[in-house]
Amino acid sequence: MTTQALRAPAVTVNGELAALGDISVHTTVLDWLRERGLTGAKEGCAEGECGACSVLVARPGTDAPTEWTAVNACLLPIASLDGQELITSEGLGSPAALHPVQKEMAIRGGSQCGFCTPGFVCSMAAEYYRSGRSTGEGDHEHGPNGFDLHSLSGNLCRCTGYRPIRDAAYALEDPTENDALAVRRLSPPPAPATTGIVSGEAEFVRPASLDGVLDLLAERSDAQIVAGSTDLGVQVNIFGSRPPLTIAIDRLAELREFSFGPSEVRLGAALTLTEIERRLAGRVPLLAQLFPQFASRLIRNGATIGGNLGTGSPIGDTPPALLALDASLVLASRRGERVVPLAEYFTGYRQTVKAADELIKTIVIPLPLAPMTAFHKIAKRRFDDISSVAIGYAVDVRDGVVAEARIGLGGVAATPLRARATEAALIGKPWTEETVRTAAAVMAAEGTPMDDHRASSSYRSAMLGQSLLRFYFQGVEA
């Protein structure tokens, strides 16, 4: 079944309403834009790694009603932007009237071959317009103008070595009062449209309510859920996946709950990682450590916490952290809701207890939080890489003795898992170097890590033990 659209699907691009027209439901935003002659956005990788396709969409903001949010146009289906507003590099300015971001990039040597440049410009413009950006002292990842370099972590440049791009970013002032895009932030973003598009034998549906989604899930075993499309987009672009029914859920109010305390933190599954990061604002230190290491800002702007758990990947970055935080999931279906501890959620490689008709609705983290927490990610590259190994820690030491220890591991088995043997080797023991060295040897034997192009199995094992030592020494030396 599909929802009958009452109006032709359309997107506002650079201020002009454009009908989606005769599209495939799998047509990406990037391909759609390029077919319209807006060739500024480029395909560099088609998997959300290079950012050459970055564009801006008007999304609900944390510090203002609307936030201009940079996303990878290569991953999102254009159908998912029905009714939304989109800005491309062409819409920011023209050669005769450069946008401030474009001007700084141009005069400082921020472009060489220019292919990645429109994407950099859009990612930089998103940070330029970020309402929470404020002038400060700056550090090696923040400019004196509050510009967060992590906003560019999803953009690759092969020519410049990045220094002139950084200088351009750090030279930006605040938008002027009459800047149209700055003004646009003050009113709400477009409401989600109720979309139903059929092309050939495939459908794209955005139901108006959670019940509508659950009905579809109950009826159609071939349904594919999509939120930020940061995983599905890769499946479509690289692996030729063409799901017959795609159901968009990312704007459903029922999946966007956010509450903190007193006894738990409740995070709606369709909140993006960026939204959670900004709304928590450091109140869950373990997650605050995780967010900057989770993919890139471009990905975090689309990727949802529910999506990261829904794929069931053994190398997702949130499971080790959420395992350490003892999180549970609320699974919803037409049959009702049930709560599953995350530690019991994963059953095998990309397999979980979630039934085909179930949807992750909410992630629940109990309070109070453990006093000592950390997130360690071992990867080749510091920004935007996939974990070889990831470890989440939540430890409570009382009177010098380990009272509680939860350690979540990713990348060392077919599923994320708790380091139960290591936890047992710590609990009840004095929090000393001797205890930790003994437990580190246990930890190095956790899981069944494999050899691949990211790391050798022996390195992965060694990193488990080393991680615990690092956790201890960084705590002691801090």
């Binding site: 790694e49 290079c50 040597g109 070595g161 220094r163 002139p164 071992i378 990211r454 690092r470």
Partner: protein, 779 residues
Amino acid sequence: MSSLSERPLQPVVGVPMPHESAALHVTGTALYTDDLVLRTKDVLHAWPVQSPHAHARVTALRVKPAYDVPGVVRVLTADDVPGVNDAGVKHDEPLFPGEVMFNGHAVCWVLGDTLEAARLGALAVEVEYEPLPSLVTVREAIDAGSFQGIGRHLERGDVEGALASAAHVFSGEFEFAGQEHFYLETHAALAHVDESEQIFVQSSTQHPSETQEIVAHVLGLASHAVTVQCLRMGGGFGGKEMQPHGFAAIAALGATLTGRPVRLRLNRTQDMTMSGKRHGFHSKWTVGFDSTGRLMALDATLTADGGWSLDLSEPVLARAMCHIDNAYEIPHVRVDGQIAKTNKTSQTAFRGFGGPQGMLVIEDILGRCAPLLGYDALELRRLNFYQPGDATPYGQPVRHADRLESCWSQVIDGGDVAARLAALEAFNATHEHVKRGLAMTPVKFGISFNLTAFNQAGALVHVYKDGSVLINHGGTEMGQGLHTKMLQVAATTLGVPFARVRLAPTRTDKVPNTSATAASSGADLNGAAIKNACEQIRERLTQVAGGRLGISPSDVRFVDGVVRGLSGDGVPWEEIVAAAYMQRVQLWAAGFYRTEGLHWDANAMRGEPFKYFAYGVAASEVEVDGFTGSYTLRRVDIVHDVGDSLSPLIDIGQIEGGFVQGAGWLTLEDLRWDESTGDRRGRLATQAASTYKLPSFSEMPEVFNVRLLEKAHEDGAVYGSKAVGEPPLMLAFSVREALRHAAAAFGPPGTSVDLPSPATPEAVYWALEGARGGVSWSG
């Protein structure tokens, strides 16, 4: 000062300018080859059928099922080739192979009304293979005696005698990885046939003339029937010097057979699995030092992993052998070079073109041997520098060798190196789990194509009646700022403001028989050709102006759009141009340049193949985490010799970008091929941006100071400048050596560290574990 290098009054060269297309880049309005597809009607899209085997005979190819897919228009196979079924110049690269030579090799191509139709059509093509034995690693090839092309031998002095009398002799082996270009714009071509059956191919190519030749020979046409144009490239780095030809030929063949424009654009997976990369090398060496740390002798065998066909492997190997000395005087040298033939992509040019590989061998040797000799690595390098009067092992005098010492001491002074080394020692003494390292390395890089004939260039300059200037030259723009420099050269020679000059896209019907934009030579060669053309025009205008101003032509000056004598106001450039037209004076000219003084005996590996050497020195400081081997690049200081810069903002961009790209090769970028005997043998395991990691913002040095060497006039190049494209890449050896220094600091003083390349966090971890003496979590 030569007439080639001398600058006139108020030159436009030397003025810092942003890239000539910067405003188009930032607004997304700069067009690349694949952006033209949307502006072309009825385009067909191409998709390859790729081999799943590393090596196999194609025993059956059934294309009919593809035609059953809606939207499939044509399947291109070997039977369709009217000319030569070969994509290269060595005739060892069949465009449609009967025997697939690597995992990913394209067997045939499907053309569809949409890309989706072509993709589905390619899935429908049925290919039967008879798998054959394959060689995937360079060691497998060496063991099997699988080589290709001509091996080379370079020798000077008495290596045996010198090693016998050396105070210290060390031997080792070092195998290091190649590098994926990862230009952000993948290979792309768009071909159509016009009403006169002229083939027009827009191609993302560094070598339009050779693309033209290959398209012509595949189609069985003369070169004049094919025109190739390159608007600009989204990065090249050598990867588009030879590799675009076959893709352009496929598009042209499809356009010829269907009468419709054909677009071929590789997606990233296809580009990474089909196109060649930087050569990985295997090296085996013995080195001798005297008791004072001076290099006495080097005996080395270099094996380049060429992949399945020759491509540019022979000149890459030659350049590697000619750069194994880097900046160091080695009296007795013997280098043997060979090219392994393996079942991988055909490895090709990549920024430095073998030079980095040769230099990496000697830098690795010095880094490993310094502690064994009891020397600080900084000191060991410096005391072995070439001195004025020295010559390279192949017999070329090392002109301006003193610039090595100048750069080195300027980096030490400007980079505050002595104080930082002291601070670093103190830091390391008080930090058990994290150590810092600092290293300095020099670069000496020969400029010119090793093959003398390639060192020529042409240009076409038009002055229109209104005084506006249009220039065209044989070089291509890939982001390096060549066009910006060429506009500056033309404006300087004609004495007009920068804005009076425009540049038309590179195409083979404007300037013929061009060399690749490669070997860092783009500005030297094309700049000199443009200067030559502009001088011809200026000379004619001088006569006109002399008459008009009533002065001797020898006193006429062209300065910032005004033509004047040695004193007085002069008249506007436009007036002189208009007058010249009325006097029937030719207002356009073809320019030409050939680099003088080069000679090279490729068989003997002797001669003077380079016009000059580019020099530079870098100091890098890193911090290494002892728990994981991960590291950060804290600070980089560079002094680099670009001669008198043509365009300082562009040159600094080249230095910074080259450095970071080099650091990527040496530390992060990790090409992994399936070396197992399983189903996926020979498959590139890192075939996406998600698995092959380029440097990102996190690899940018926290402090990055780049300075151009001052008073660096180069007599032998246009307006006193030097080439800059490749040499800075090799400054990144300092990062690798700094990591070695930091890893050694985890061990006792004098620890020698063997470091793989790339030095990934894992590699650094094992290196520092080795330095710690295998200290583990239990100990």
